[in-house]
C-alpha cells in the first residue's frame, strides 16, 4: 500500500495523534508547518491523520533528541519513504551518524567525570 493510494483507513484528529505520540497538539501543528507531516483536512478544516502518523511523530521526537533539526529531517525523509537516496542524502546520513556518535562519546566522557566525583563524594561524606 503506497502513500497516495491509502485505502480508507481510520483517520484521526490532531489530539489523538498528540496523545498517542506523547507530544503537544502545538508540536504536531509545528511539524506540519515545517513540512514534516502532511494532513488531510475535513470539510470544516480540521486536520485528519492516518494512524501511522503516530509512530512517525515518535520518530521525529527521536531524531530531535539526537540533535537533528526539522529541516534536516525533511531532507532525509525520502530515505525512509522510498528507500531511495542520492549521494547527497547518503552523505548527510553518514554525517549525522558521525555527529551523533561523537556526541555519545562526549556524553560518555562527561558521565565518567561525574561518576568519578560521585564515587569520591560517597566515600567522603
Amino acid at each position: 500500500m503506497t502513500v497516495t493510494e491509502a485505502a480508507a483507513e481510520r483517520l484521526v484528529r490532531i489530539g489523538e495523534v498528540a496523545r498517542g505520540a506523547g507530544v503537544s497538539v502545538r508540536a504536531v501543528r509545528y511539524y506540519e508547518q515545517q513540512g514534516l507531516l502532511i494532513a488531510e483536512r475535513s470539510p470544516s478544516g480540521q486536520r485528519l491523520y492516518r494512524q501511522d502518523a503516530i509512530p512517525l511523530v515518535r520518530f521525529f521526537q527521536q531524531m530531535f533528541a539526537a540533535g537533528l533539526t526539522s529541516r534536516r529531517i525533511t531532507e532525509l525523509l525520502p530515505c525512509w519513504d522510498s528507500g531511495h537516496t542520492d549521494a547527497e542524502q547518503r552523505a548527510m546520513l553518514r554525517a549525522e551518524r558521525d555527529r551523533i556518535q561523537a556526541k555519545v562519546d562526549d556524553l560518555q566522557a562527561a558521565l565518567d567525570r561525574l561518576d568519578e566525583v560521585i564515587a569520591i563524594t560517597d566515600t567522603h561524606p
Copy 2:
C-alpha cells in the same frame, strides 16, 4: 591544590584563556557573568586569570555538552573545589548522571536507526 586555591601563578588575560580552551572571549565573559569563573582585575580593569582557568573552561564546555546549565554547574562546583557535598548536591549529581545516561541511551537508539537506514541505502543505491 584545589581548583580555586592557588599560589602566585602567572596570570593571563582573557584572550589567552579563550584561545587555550578553544572558546570565544565572549564565552569566557559569559561564564563570569554566570558566576562560573571569577577573575582578578588589573588596575585598568582587565580580567586576569590563573592558568588553571583554561582546563576549568574546558570542563565547563564538557558539562554544557552534557546538557548541564550554567546554574547547575555553579551549584555543583563546590563538589569539585572542596570535595565536600551535602545531601542535596549528591542528589543533583546522581540526577544529572542519570539524565545523561538516559540521553546516551536515546542517542544510541537513534544511532541504531540511522545505521539501519544507511545499511539499506547502501545496498539499494
